[in-house]
């Protein structure tokens, strides 16, 4: 995806054409809702060189994603955003949203989105009502009121992009691409407009050499976000091929399709019908069944859990998921990372040792 524009270019281009930018924090929200207002959601996952300015407001036991996001805000890295959107992903992102509303000046409107921890009709109805309330906020901010038909069209575009992402994930291990390049392409969904992502993704699928079999030992990658990216290089170097993805930023947002004629109900059903995710508090059995089915479909030999330190949603599931996978003959490895730091030497050793045990 060499021709894929960068985040900065996309933001500049969107603003030039008269659109607005929203900085959106992890994990679940509806892109279509923002796009219907000509607002481009650009996601911020806290990685990269954000510094540690966030430490002025957050204790050291807050995860590096949340501290990185706040640091990015405090150091002016998010200055292009005219509004912030904070999904209610976990206690720490809840805290961040609340800090912005009460204690740390965000300098722009902040819209929290609540994520129901249930999937029944009451939860879908609440999620739909939550999205409708955000619609009203955005209408107030922009002065426009997109029709239901506008919303449905925006959702259709996102569905199209989602299906391209799904095709990429399906072929993940067989595309002759370094892991870092694959994730750069898949994660461009975090800032590219849906139609551009879909076009770029299709191009990638057409032009990349496909192998019959993965080049390395097939593994499944689970976690929140694959940062720092050096770990992807270390996996490649050790002879692993990531063939299945269960990352919150990628595979867990391979959303369900819905045909609901109410656009808000449709968006809600898509999010709540997505693959089992820790941050939605899905039952252990369902997460395990999902991982096992991915593993058997792609002949996975090991699962690598790429965990952000202090991430409670992830850490609670880990022992039972690992046990379930091990019982099915799949080796597991848990790596704990601070996404703002370079991975330690020990992480490379753990990865290499895992691959040695599979040799």
């Amino acid at each position: 995806m060499d021709s894929t524009p960068t985040r900065t270019q996309v933001i500049a281009e969107h603003k030039r054409s008269g659109g607005r930018i929203a900085a959106v924090f992890p994990v679940h929200y509806s892109r279509a809702l923002f796009r219907a207002f000509n607002i481009l959601p650009v996601e911020v996952w806290g990685g990269g060189r954000t510094g540690n300015a966030g430490d002025a407001h957050l204790q050291a036991y807050t995860c590096s994603v949340v501290r990185g996001v706040l640091s990015a805000h405090l150091t002016g890295m998010l200055r292009d955003a005219e509004l912030y959107c904070v999904p209610h992903t976990c206690d720490s992102l809840q805290g961040l949203g609340s800090l912005f509303l009460d204690l740390v000046d965000p300098g722009r409107p902040v819209i929290p989105i609540y994520l129901p921890r249930d999937e029944g009709p009451a939860a879908v109805a609440f999620m739909a009502s939550e999205l409708r309330a955000i619609y009203d906020r955005l209408a107030e901010l922009t002065g426009s009121r997109p029709s239901d038909a506008d919303l449905q069209r925006a959702i259709d575009r996102e569905c199209e992009a989602d299906s391209v992402l799904a095709a990429m994930l399906e072929l993940q291990g067989r595309l002759a691409l370094p892991a870092r390049a694959f994730y750069a392409a898949a994660r461009s969904r975090e800032y590219l407009p849906a139609e551009q992502f879909a076009a770029a993704g299709r191009r990638l699928l057409e032009t990349t050499v496909r192998r019959e079999e993965p080049a390395g030992v097939p593994i499944l990658l689970s976690g929140i976000v694959p940062e720092p990216e050096e770990i992807l290089d270390q996996l490649d170097a050790a002879g692993a091929s990531i063939v299945a993805d269960d990352m919150a930023c990628c595979g867990r947002r391979n959303y369900a399709m819905s045909t609901n004629s109410d656009p808000f109900g449709r968006m809600a059903e898509q999010i709540l019908g997505g693959p089992p995710d820790s941050t939605r508090g899905v039952a252990v059995e369902r997460r395990l069944a999902h991982l096992l089915s991915l593993a058997s479909a792609r002949r996975v030999r090991a699962a690598v859990f790429y965990e952000v330190k202090f991430c409670e949603p992830e850490a609670f599931y880990l022992p039972q998921l690992r046990r379930g996978l091990e019982e099915a003959g799949i080796k597991t490895l848990a790596l704990e990372v601070d996404i703002s730091e370079r991975p330690s030497h020990q992480i490379a050793t753990r990865i290499e040792a895992l691959l040695e045990t599979l040799a």
Partner: protein, 441 residues
């Protein structure tokens, strides 16, 4: 319950158990009444009703031990609506409370280690690790913890409990009722109340199915009435701390709160708090302070440090400092006025959306400001609790604002509510001493 089991339950709990516990209580009361039985010069002797508290708690766990003879058992989170479970005859167990008991009895460290041995990260909430450790090893300081028939998890205190209860549900293979309470960044909306109410109605159906009986509306109203009465009395008990000298400290409340958390909705809880309140009123009238010489008054924010309650309370008392209130114990009283026994389901939906932990950092700051005023506190200790992110995030800003606005010292104290390994006596002692020196200026 079969007739034989019914008889065994009554024999063990109502006849033998009750008699033994009553006897122990009398012994306790008699020992307390002997001159010279209380040795601490800085802290007033415990209230005379204290042995009754011990009796209540012991009886609660005794009922748990024999619950297998016929009562259904629900494990619930501390902020969960419990009235419908009480009305359905469940024995209700609070893992968080049980974990705190483990912390007080110095068992939490080994239980946390057991959970870590099984792969649970040392960064997870220490309540959760303590209880998971207890579940995995069967070790507990309370005799025996009954296995759950149903789990009830309400997310109004944190999301942590949701993941924790998912682990329990997988382990025990029992139904889990989730009551998802949208976080109130500002105010509760009607749609949020409607969502919670819909979930409560679904919860009742599951709980009825597990219990094998249907919910009697009169019983629900009765339990809700007791709940409200107990919460009101609890609030009045805490408000006694506004008196100078304060007849009760937050350290005392940490122990006296057990019934309001785990025996809400029961008549005996109302009786106990009525007796405690009467005694505190008497102490107020006689100007008896919980700290013998009270020079300074402090507000506490966040959970107690269960494994160091006594150490901290003695340290402060020696310096003539009374911890007159806490946002934590306050949480079980401040919503009493929202409880409406005539509309139990509707009011529950509202009440259980509003705990301080389900509201924004600004609301907590406002609460602390008000409590500093109401209790005439000279300063605030904010326990920065490694194990409780929702309670702790925001404290840095809250501390700064309190200090700036009130000109009163506010200390951020790094600790962990149940894991002694994340606590350094030496560092805490130094920081606290420096803080108290500031206060004395």
């Amino acid at each position: 319950m079969s007739l034989a089991n019914q008889l065994r339950y009554h024999l063990n709990v109502s006849i033998v158990g009750n008699s033994v516990l009553r006897l122990q209580r009398w012994q306790g009361e008699w020992q307390m009444s002997r001159p010279g039985s209380w040795q601490n010069a800085h802290i007033a002797p415990p209230v005379a009703v204290a042995p009754r508290l011990k009796e209540l708690i012991s009886r609660h766990y005794l009922k748990g031990q024999y619950a297998h003879l016929g009562r259904k058992v629900a494990w619930v989170t501390s902020g969960a609506p419990v009235e419908f479970l009480v009305a359905l005859g469940y024995f209700v167990l609070y893992p968080e409370n049980h974990a705190a008991v483990c912390g007080i009895r110095r068992m939490s460290e080994s239980l946390c280690t057991a959970a870590e041995d099984a792969g649970y990260s040392p960064d997870l909430c220490s309540y959760a690790r303590t209880d998971i450790g207890s579940v995995l090893t069967g070790k507990t300081p309370v005799g025996k913890v009954p296995r759950p028939d149903v789990l009830v998890c309400c997310t109004n205190i944190c999301q942590t409990v949701l993941f924790w209860y998912r682990v329990l549900a997988h382990h025990f293979n029992v139904p889990l009722i989730v009551i998802d309470t949208p976080f109130l960044y500002t105010e509760a909306t009607e749609r949020a109340v409607a969502y919670v109410k819909a979930q409560l109605e679904d919860a009742v159906i599951v709980a009825e199915r597990v219990a094998g009986r249907s919910l009697g509306f009169d019983k629900l109203k009765q339990a809700t009435r007791y709940s409200r009465q107990a919460c009101e009395l609890w609030m009045k008990i805490m408000e006694c701390g506004q008196h100078r000298p304060a007849p009760i400290t937050a350290f005392d409340e940490f122990f006296h709160m057990a019934p309001i958390v785990e025996m809400r909705g029961e008549a005996f809880t109302v009786d106990y708090y009525a007796a405690l309140l009467a005694e505190l009123e008497q102490r107020k009238a006689n100007n008896i302070g919980a700290v013998t010489v009270e020079s300074k008054r402090l507000l506490w924010d966040n959970l107690p440090v269960w494994h160091r309650v006594r150490w901290l309370s003695e340290m402060l008392a020696e310096r003539q400092v009374a911890l007159v209130a806490s946002t934590y114990t306050n949480a079980w009283g401040e919503l009493a006025h929202l409880v409406d026994p005539e509309r139990p389901m509707e009011s529950a939906a509202t009440v259980y959306l509003h705990p301080i932990l389900n509201r924004g950092t600004g609301h907590k700051l406002k609460t602390m400001r008000r409590m500093v005023d109401d209790y005439q506190a000279d300063g605030v200790i904010l326990h920065s609790d490694r194990s409780c992110k929702p309670y702790s995030i925001g404290q840095i800003g809250q501390r700064n604002r309190l200090a700036d606005e009130l000109g009163a010292p506010a200390l951020l104290l790094e600790a962990d509510h149940n894991d002694p390994r994340a606590f350094s006596n030496e560092q805490v002692a130094t920081r606290l001493s420096a803080f108290l020196e500031l206060l004395e200026k």
